[in-house]
């Protein structure tokens, strides 16, 4: 029937002059639908990113070159005055030192412990889900809450940690006075919240490692520890790079935990634990109320994060690739051994 139906139309052309045009219109509509929809669907992200991500980053540079107070708004163009002002403030340099110190104290132990926990989880455990959920629990505690809890645990007077140290006869540590001690305390907050999360990422990577590699290693007589270092670590190298990079980007911008480490929220009496983001906040909205200078800090921090990110990527890539080189030859040998033994048993 559908084949026949156009025929009467051709016989009577005067009947419906509008019909072909309507078909054309809906076809054109459908073609536009196909052509435009992909762009339409991705546009919310790009529009939002342009307004709230890209534009502010670029505009930060503009603001940093002007006098710009929180209440008074835009002032004169002053070139790099804001940057030289920042460089002249000892608090800025102290904040950089603190940021790096806290970052190193948090990221290095965190990645190492996370890999160990992942290796523990990557076994034929009973109640797998329970253990996985157990290590993830701290992730749902807000950084502000973690900061307040640990701020109290690391209290200088009658804090839990000092109490425990006293039990072993160790003198109380002045966590809120000594710079390094405060960094350890703040780094422990970061580690508390993220170690389990990263362990699960590593666990997923470990489970994707082909089991034949382990079987081959067992055939070669490699013990658990040897298997871990010669197979597991090189095999999850991409994931290690990923975790190190994300913890770098996050770690260098740490704000919440140091902000609530004491009541004043200004990074300590002599800025012992004032991080660069906290310094940025203090310059912009705290004591100086100078958005121009704060923008200069933001730009500097942005550059630092990008540069450190690249360096980190290079180092991590180097380390784990050299590990992989060693094992590719090894696994090839193992594979050959496995093939030999299977031939023998068959």
């Amino acid at each position: 029937m559908s084949v026949k139906s156009p025929a009467p139309e051709r016989i009577a052309p005067a009947g419906t002059p509008r019909a072909p045009r309507r078909v054309g219109f809906s076809q054109r509509l459908s073609r536009w639908d196909v052509k435009l929809s992909p762009y339409l669907y991705i546009s919310p992200f790009f529009i939002l990113f342009a307004i709230t991500g890209l534009f502010p980053l670029v505009y930060t540079a503009y603001v940093s070159l002007h006098q710009w107070s929180l209440l008074g708004g835009q002032g004169d163009y002053i070139g790099f005055q804001n940057f030289t002002d920042i460089f002249a403030q000892p608090a800025f340099w102290r904040s950089l030192r603190n940021t790096f110190s806290i970052f190193l104290l948090s990221s290095v132990p965190q990645v190492l412990v996370a890999i160990v926990i992942a290796a523990l989880l990557d076994q034929n455990l009973r109640a797998k889900t329970f253990w996985r959920m157990g290590v993830l629990l701290p992730y749902v505690v807000a950084p502000v809450a973690v900061g307040l809890i640990f701020g109290r645990m690391f209290a200088d007077q009658s804090g839990l940690i000092n109490g425990a140290l006293g039990f072993f006869g160790i003198e109380p540590i002045r966590w809120h006075v000594d710079a390094l001690a405060s960094h350890v305390a703040i780094a422990s907050m970061v580690n508390f919240r993220w170690t389990g999360y990263n362990a699960l990422i590593f666990l997923a990577a470990m489970q994707a490692v082909p089991r034949e590699l382990y079987e081959a290693a067992i055939i070669d007589g490699a013990g658990r520890v040897r298997q871990f270092f010669s197979i597991t670590i090189p095999q999850i190298r991409a994931t290690i790079i990923f975790v190190v990079l994300t913890s770098t980007i996050g770690g260098l911008q740490i704000f919440d935990e140091p902000r609530v480490f004491d009541e004043a929220g200004r990074g300590g009496s002599s800025q012992q634990w004032m991080t660069t983001t906290l310094y940025l906040y203090d310059v912009g909205w705290g004591t100086q109320r100078n958005l121009g200078r704060a923008a200069a800090v933001a730009w500097l921090l942005f550059l630092i994060v990008v540069v450190i990110g690249f360096i980190n990527f290079a180092i991590t890539n180097r380390i784990s690739t050299s590990g992989a080189d060693r094992t590719t030859t090894r696994t090839r040998r193992q594979r050959r051994a496995a093939a030999r033994s299977s031939r023998r048993s068959a």
Binding site: P38, A145, A298, S341
Partner: protein
């Protein structure tokens, strides 16, 4: 050394039993071997380190300032004064607790919904539709994940001040409507989970692009969408930096409120800790019900990322 079943076939049942015994004893061990007590003890310690600070919060929350000042561990069990402190926090003059709670809930729910919708739309487009510039645009999205956009706060603040949004919830919601991570996540998922045949079938049936998205892609994306919603919810509920800049005392979210609590009640840490527990409790409840999905989500993201 071959596997025990192979031994059974080649050398007989007795040899297999001996091999199994040997395998159980040897340090090497197969992958399927049950781990020893040490593993459970170490994992137990890890879980306790996670639980300890939360329990400590309960203890301090049911204590009083004098006891906290004198002893590093005022008591060993929480007691009824915990609830007194809860009600003191809820009825505090420093901020309106229920308003802060409502604000946190609105922000977290709203951004979760929009993030899922916009990310799934973009993910559908990137994963299953062909258009010019698809590849470079997707690379761009991934690259933005590595950009510390948090550092654009100053112009963002200037914009918000100019349009009069300081102190309003829009100022927190709008920048968080959709994330690069969400787009990337849904693209990855839909690439595998949505067969082309289904889309073609819908198109042949005359469905428009949007209809195809709504009736075919959306249902297929449901598992990943649920996880994305969960992660967005947790992120927004715990978010502090930006809200603490644009929101003020009269209209805070819970993390901003708990900082107010600290600034106002630092003489009484039992109240601060009760407050800390109150803001954490909703997410702990969420975790009890959806923790399994969070675990699965983190692990799924890791394999692909």
């Amino acid at each position: 050394m071959s596997s025990v079943p192979t031994t059974r076939q080649t050398a007989g049942a007795g040899a297999a039993r001996a091999a199994a015994r040997r395998a159980g004893r040897s340090k090497v061990g197969g992958y399927d071997r049950r781990p020893g007590v040490v593993t459970y003890v170490l994992l137990g310690v890890a879980v306790l380190i996670g639980l300890g600070p939360l329990y400590y919060t309960l203890l301090l929350g049911s204590s009083d300032p004098v006891a906290i000042a004198q002893s590093s561990l005022p008591q060993l069990l929480p007691d009824a004064s915990l609830f007194e402190n809860f009600s003191k926090v809820i009825n505090s003059d420093a901020f309106d607790f229920w308003k802060a709670f409502g604000n946190s809930l609105i922000i977290a729910l709203f951004t979760s919904a929009t993030t899922v919708l916009f990310s799934t739309l973009a993910g559908f487009s990137f994963a299953k539709l062909t258009f010019k510039g698809r590849r470079p645009l997707l690379v761009f999205v991934i690259a933005t994940m590595a950009v510390p956009t948090q550092l654009g706060v100053i112009p963002l603040y200037i914009i918000m001040a100019k349009i009069g949004w300081i102190g309003t919830l829009q100022a927190v919601i709008v920048p968080a409507l959709v994330t690069a991570f969400g787009v990337f996540w849904m693209t990855q998922y839909l690439e595998e989970a949505l067969p082309y045949e289904l889309i073609e079938a819908a198109r042949v049936d005359g469905a428009s692009m949007f209809r195809t998205f709504w009736s075919i892609a959306m249902p297929a994306a449901r598992p990943a969408a649920a996880m994305l919603a969960l992660f967005t919810f947790v992120t927004q509920w715990t978010n502090f930096f930006w809200p603490s800049i644009v929101l003020n005392q009269s209209n805070p979210t819970l993390p901003v409120a708990v900082r107010l609590l600290q600034a106002n009640y630092f003489v009484d840490y039992s109240l601060v800790m009760a407050g800390v527990f109150l803001i954490t409790l909703p997410l702990i409840i969420l975790f009890v019900f959806a923790g399994r999905q969070l675990v699965a989500g983190i692990m799924a993201g890791a394999v692909k990322g």
